[in-house]
Amino acid sequence: MQHISVTVDGMEYNAEVEPRTLLVHWLRNGIGKVGTVVGCDTSNCGACTVLLDGRSVKSCSVLAVQANGSEVTTIQGLSDGNEWHPVQTAFKECHGLQCGYCTPGMVLAAVDLLGENPNPSEAEIREGLEGNLCRCTGYHNIVKSVAYAAELMGGGSK
């Protein structure tokens, strides 16, 4: 077992973990952050995406021990109190989700995408979300959501 200290959604957690434990399994089973979900076992679907020190990562592809000393933001820590993150607002306004299972990962991938490119074209949005699969929406409204979020955040989409 190995000791880790990770700040998740603003709270510091200290834990003993097996070296082989994936970050996503520690988030879900170790500290009850079940808003982050697992959709595959080959890092293809992106459902487990979180922000690690501000950048999106697939938390099934990171060991919990690798997150030691880092800050993790999950879907449960994205909004600021009752103030929704613009990406969350945009997904609701544009019907960018149906079953909602890919949504935590999709939203956090979009947050990272907009951090890197505040003014993305449709093609850039599609490319930026390539690592996140959705089976419900056909992506049409997800792309619209991200473009609208860019507008809300002051960037605006090309």
């Binding site: 609701k92 909602g100 089976r135």
Partner: protein, 789 residues
């Protein structure tokens, strides 16, 4: 975020979804989130081979591993090893092999369950699987359906002596009309095997409740109510002691319309161990153990006169059942059976389907279930007929489709389509698409020998959904009904509970059902709570599949809400000292006609019904009403879908440049949700045409057993869609609505393939296998050119 709503117009508005706040903040209740004290986790040893006798199975090694509580093979499980039921024996002489939850001495497909280990944590359970000693005597795998039914084939279930599950016939008279035909076109289409691949992997938790006999089962299922009945029958747990909860469910697409062996195992082991048992599949398990869809070989023959009048259609199917029959496996091709004639008038129709066992994962419903297959066949063969006749493909369709004046129209397959307007949907779609402009561009590219050719794909579809009139289901030997239930309760504080038997997993029922109830009760949408997916809280229902939830469940909400208003009217009249017939009910308020001062809002009536201090004689306290509605008929949405396909003739690369569809789903309760359903359906139908296909090697091993190998399209692989609607209200459904959940998936596949073939016609290409990957397209071009592929 709260919207102020005009309740009178709650229907037809794109109200933002109630579900989203939770889902966007991770405040979700997926089955895998459930962590009950003392839970034991199950892991499954699955067959790595397609067909084998199990010559040795020793679980004792697993029992010595850390944290392991128990382990079972079929022998150890004994009588608790229930068999997976099939509720659709389509013929009297159907062959129905035993489908035990844990294989008994023999495995029949890769992924078959061989043994289970239970441990105090999931990782220990998985780790201990490797300590199970198992040996297989591998047998030849039955993979090809035609070989499977040929003499001398290896038999999947030896005790049955045949790989033929059933033969089903419908119709007749084709040969007579074919004898008079000028033109006959025959084609073989392969409707390939697909994997539903809902994003949330399946998960089951079963927990004995204290010292009672009750068991609660949480499952990521589309069908908690049907599951309750079947699980009771399979396990012997009295139905009244069994509660099924479908919490948040992350997609289904038919793939969770099932009673799975893992649901049986988890329930039985929870009973045996007296502890909560939990199992969540990995994606790799899902790919081999959750049912697959489609997988038909379709021999299609159409007869016509030389001026393009369709005379008859002959359909001969081989349908792959896989290794076992799951809940409605044999019936899926029959859901398509009535729809092969599509929107066209003709004189004769012959249908034969042979169900075939193979050593593959069982098939069952996948978005559209039978109708995507039939729509693909008819829309493809119509294009081939047009080519044979030298006619414009839309012109041939126009010449043969049912015109809007002809509804209700009874088709050659025996269904009566209530309404439709194919002319209007098509006219709108052609305009939105710039059909003439694209045809001109196509001509220009052909003439200039552009290496990237342009094709236009057409699909003018209809489908039958809103499953289903119970008598019709009975006539087809389905053992359950197709009704739906709703209870509406007005609480003393004026808030409303709508209890529905539908079970959403992404469709937004909480929002749309609130809109229906709001429009009748005059209560704001935000004051209505929709209760679903829990047999303890919503005891009656037939669940969600077959685009039935609005088409059938919506009727029940309407009827129950109206009955509640009727009861409230009697109470209000008593309070206002008038006759019930003197009251009008507008925007949630009863008022005396001609004397608006004398009024009582519905909420006040509810409080009177609660206190019961002053109710009229014979009126019982509380204010609720229920309705259980059997639909009068199926629902027949239709539409015209057009795809502009660019095909690089040098590389085989296909690009979907533009997709336009005009759908007619009747009255729309929430157009935003309708639009989302269309988009999602399109994505899955387009994926069948261009990307997805489950493939097996000759040993029966699934080659596409992970999301790294099975190509679910990403955002990069699809365009934005251009959608439009015509509104022809259904006359058989009281809200005027039609189903929409499957329409996009049903319509889009032939539009894409017709477009690719259309692009390549000048090269002599008349057929395109699915998925139309660059390699497949390139090889098809080479073969048409006569070169070596």
């Amino acid at each position: 975020m709260t919207e102020v709503l005009d309740t009178a117009n709650a229907i037809g508005r794109p109200i933002k979804r109630k579900e989203d706040a939770r889902l966007l903040h991770g405040q979700t209740n997926w089955t895998d989130n459930i962590q009950l004290p003392g839970t034991v986790h199950m892991a499954i040893l699955r067959s790595p081979v397609a067909h084998a006798n199990i010559t040795k199975l020793d679980i004792s090694g697993a029992l010595k591993r850390p944290n392991v509580v128990a382990a079972f093979g079929a022998e150890e499980l004994g009588d608790l090893n229930g068999s997976v039921p099939c509720v659709w024996p389509v013929t009297d002489d159907i062959v129905m092999p035993d489908f035990p939850a844990l294989a008994k001495g023999k495995v029949h497909h890769m992924g078959d369950c061989v043994a289970v280990v239970l441990a105090t944590d999931a990782t220990s359970a998985v780790d201990a699987l490797e300590a199970i000693d198992v040996e297989y005597d591998v047998l030849p795998a039955v993979i090809d359906m035609e070989k499977a039914i040929a003499p001398g084939s290896t038999i999947v279930h030896e005790d049955k002596g045949t790989n033929t599950c059933y033969v089903y016939n419908l119709g007749g008279g084709y040969d007579e009309v074919a004898a008079k035909a000028d033109v006959i076109v025959k084609r073989r289409f392969i409707n390939q095997r697909l994997i539903p691949a809902f994003m949330e992997p399946r998960s089951v938790v079963a927990a004995p409740m204290g010292m009672s006999d009750e068991i609660t089962v949480w499952s990521s299922t589309q069908i908690p109510h049907i599951l309750r009945v079947l699980l009771a029958l399979v396990t012997g747990v009295p139905e009244n002691n069994l509660r099924i909860i479908a919490p948040d469910v992350g997609g289904g697409f038919g793939g969770k319309l099932q009673i799975y062996r893992e649901e049986i195992l988890v329930t039985q082991l929870a009973r045996k161990l007296g502890k909560p048992v939990k199992w969540t599949e990995t994606r790799s398990e899902d790919m081999v153990a959750s049912h697959h869809g489609r997988d038909q070989i379709q021999d299609i023959e159409i007869a016509a006169t030389k001026d393009g009048k369709m005379l008859g259609l002959k359909v001969t199917l081989l349908a792959d059942m896989g290794a076992y029959l799951q809940v409605i496996t044999p019936g899926v091709p029959l859901l398509g059976m009535f729809m092969y004639p599509g929107i066209y008038k003709m004189d004769a129709y012959d249908f034969t389907c042979t169900g075939v066992f193979t050593n593959k994962t069982p098939t069952d419903a996948y978005r559209g279930a039978g109708r995507p297959e039939s729509t693909y066949a008819i829309e493809r063969i119509v294009d081939e007929l047009a080519n044979e006749l030298g006619m414009e493909p839309m012109e041939l369709r126009r010449k043969n489709w049912i015109t809007h004046e002809e509804f209700p129209y009874t088709t050659v397959a025996g269904l009566t389509y209530d309404t439709g307007n194919y002319e209007a949907a098509t006219a709108k779609a052609l305009e939105m698409f710039d059909y003439d402009g694209l045809r001109a561009e196509q001509k220009q590219r052909r003439e200039s020998g552009d290496p990237v050719q342009l094709g236009i794909g057409i699909s003018t579809f209809t489908e039958m959904c809103g499953l289903a009139p119970s008598r019709t289901l009975g006539a087809l030997k389905y053992v359950a009904g197709g009704w739906e239930h709703c209870t509406v309760r007005l609480l003393p504080t004026g808030k409303v509970e709508v209890v529905t038997g539908t079970s959403p997993h992404g469709q937004g029922h909480e929002t749309a059902w609130s809109q229906i109830a709001s429009s009748i009760l005059g209560v704001p949408v935000e004051d209505i709570e929709v209760i679903h997916g829990d047999t303890g809280r919503a005891p009656y229902g037939m669940d969600t599949y077959g685009s039935r939830s609005l088409a059938v469940g919506g009727q029940a909400i309407k009827a129950a809400s109206e009955r509640l208003v009727d009861k409230a009217r009697v109470i209000a009249a008593h309070q206002l000292e008038c006759s019930p017939s003197d009251l009008e009910f507008v925007e949630g308020v009863f008022s005396v006609k001609g004397d608006a001062e004398k009024s009582q809002p519905l909420g006040a009536v509810a409080f009177e019904a609660f206190t019961a201090h002053n109710l009229p004689d014979g009126v019982e306290p509380t204010l609720s009403a229920e309705a259980t509605i059997d639909p009068q008929d199926f629902s027949y949405p239709h539409g015209t879908h057009l795809a502009a396909m660019e095909v690089d003739t040098e590389t085989g690369k296909v690009t979907l440049r533009k997709y336009v569809c005009v759908d007619d789903v009747g009255i729309q309760v929430n157009p935003m949700i309708v639009e989302g359903q269309v988009h999602g359906g399109l994505a899955q139908g387009i994926a069948q045409a261009m990307y997805e296909g489950a493939s097996y090697d000759e040993d029966g091993l699934l080659q596409t057993a992970s999301l790294a190998d099975y190509l679910i399209p990403s955002a990069m692989d699809l365009p934005s869609f251009t959608t439009g609607y015509t509104v022809t209200p259904s006359t058989t459904h009281p809200l005027g609505t039609k189903g929409v959940g499957e329409a996009g998936a049903i319509a889009s596949t032939p539009a894409i393939i017709n477009g690719i073939v259309d692009a390549l016609r000048p090269l002599g290409v008349n057929e395109m296998a699915m998925p139309a990957s660059p390699m497949t397209v390139w090889k098809t071009i080479q073969a048409a050119k006569g070169g070596a592929a």
